[in-house]
Amino acid sequence: MLELLTYPFMQRALLAAVLVGITAPAVGIYLVQRRQAIMGDGIGHVALTGVALGFLTGTNPVWTAIAVSALGAVLMELIRWYGKTRGDLALAMLFYGGMAGGVLLINLSPNGSNANLTTYLFGSITTVSQQDVVVISLLAGFVMLITLGLRRQLFAVCQDEEFARVTGLPVRTLNLLLAVTAAVTVTVAMRVVGLLLVSALMVVPVAAAQQATRGFAMTLALAVSIGVVVTLSGTVFSFYENVPPGASIVVLAIGVFAVITALAAPLAKSRARRAAAAEERCTLRDDVLV
């Protein structure tokens, strides 16, 4: 087990995995709270165009991916404000456009092919460079600063937007900030988990955690813990079995979800039974109104 730590590329991959394991659920929890779990998926699709743009222009795909996906995320947020009824169609169009644009641009670039995209689509542990690690760490720091530092404000906005506006919170700014943060997270995660599966890592640990928790802070803590455990173990598994890490990480996360659900279901049932029994015992006489 320890021998894999002697490979520099594995050290980098594992560090990146930890950062992804923390940031993806930390952003994902707000998207899930707002019932927008699919948003991460959309940003991932749009980021593909950004990656291809990097190949086409000869710049680091991480930067172009950030620029394009942040633009896409802000656009999605604007559609959410103004879109109303046709909003879902506009979002679908954005998803398809991002995917098609990526494939188109990569084939137009001089030394690009669909094969280049595959490592970005499903992640890869061998391609995380020294420079990538520095960039990923900086971006992950930004994501943690926003998602953990502003957690009470973001919680209020995602929980009840109208109430948050009446308390005087800068709701629009916070929503845009969350959209950009989600876009940055997608870029942080694309090296390890891949663009097609990044959304799963935003959503599945949160879904798994909330099977067992009663509050938001606990859900956040547990989701991040699950995220770190599955990204680390998935990356190690990929080292031995030579499969794309995105796939093993997401399968593991779903496994954790299944286990927690199986364990928590009887617990919740007995809790509900107790609560029901308590209510039956103390019926208020006032309710009779004789």
């Binding site: 899930v32 929980q159 009840d160 109430f163 909330q210 009663r214 509050g215 109104l289």
Partner: protein, 275 residues
């Protein structure tokens, strides 16, 4: 209904508790607003003075909810003027002075949240981006105790009954220690035990000098607290004065209230709750 000059609003001095301040806390003048192209407010005048408890009554679709939502800036006015604490609505930034209880939406969202977490959100008006201090935590605890939910503080809001849910939303508004409480149908779908708690909470707030504007479908157990009632019909004020008496609720213009339990003689018992 055509636009016509409305009958002058009776002076608020008629209220049992005369305003100590000449400036109204809420002043809505000739307010018009539309939702989806349909005019919902058609020239509403509404003023609430310091220390007053004003009930906004009317049938479903009369515009009472739109009126309060325009007061808190959530529905843009197409005409007329709004002033809060003497400041024009558009320039008003002092939101910590207002405690808002929106019409009951579910407090539960996609992720579980405890009662305390939801109530703590009401404190953000006071501290904005700063981390919570001791005073903030104490205010949240006080708000929880006021509505009798302190023992449920760690429970997820998703597990609460309708009435408990409403108590949590009111505690959230109280956590900011507001001077003005604005509540949209706080009694809708609330069981009798919770109605009693809410009426008691409100009475304490009023005794402490709070100003209250609340949308009600019927006066119910809050009746003894109400200083003045404003009745809306089709987006116009049709009554502004003492709350309609006993039979009043059902005699209100445009009030097509249907009781699911259809027992008219059971009704007066509810109103006697606080006396």
């Amino acid at each position: 209904m055509p636009e016509e000059p409305r009958t002058p609003v009776p002076a608020p001095a008629a209220a049992p508790r005369p305003a100590s301040h000449p400036d109204p806390v809420i002043s809505l003048r000739g307010a018009t607003a539309s939702l989806g192209g349909r005019p919902v407010l058609r020239g509403v005048d509404l003023s609430v003075h310091r220390g007053e408890v004003v009930a906004l009554l009317g049938a479903n679709g009369s515009g009472k909810s739109t009126a309060v939502r325009s007061v808190v800036g959530q529905v843009p006015l197409s005409g007329g003027e709004l002033a809060l604490f003497g400041t024009p609505g558009r320039r008003f930034r002092d939101w910590a002075r207002i405690g808002y209880v929106p019409q009951r939406t579910t407090a539960a969202s996609g992720v579980p949240a405890t009662v305390r977490e939801v109530v703590s959100a009401g404190r953000l008006a006071r501290r904005r981006l700063a981390p919570p201090r001791k005073a903030d935590r104490a205010a949240v605890q006080r708000a929880l105790e006021l509505v009798g939910m302190a023992d449920r503080a760690k429970d997820p809001v998703g597990a609460l009954s309708g009435g408990q849910h409403q108590r949590v939303l009111i505690a959230r508004a109280l956590a900011g220690e507001p001077e003005l409480l604005i509540m949209d149908e706080p009694m809708a779908g609330v069981d009798l035990a919770s109605q009693e708690v809410l009426a008691g909470t409100l009475r304490e707030q009023v005794a402490g000098g709070a100003t209250v504007l609340l949308v009600l479908h019927e006066l119910g157990p809050l009746e003894p607290l109400i200083d003045r009632a404003v009745v809306l019909r089709d987006g116009c004020v049709v009554h502004d004065g003492p709350p309609p008496k006993a039979v009043g609720q059902h005699a209100l213009p445009g009030h097509d209230h249907v009781h699911p339990h259809a027992a008219p003689d059971a009704e007066p018992i509810r109103t006697g709750l606080l006396t």
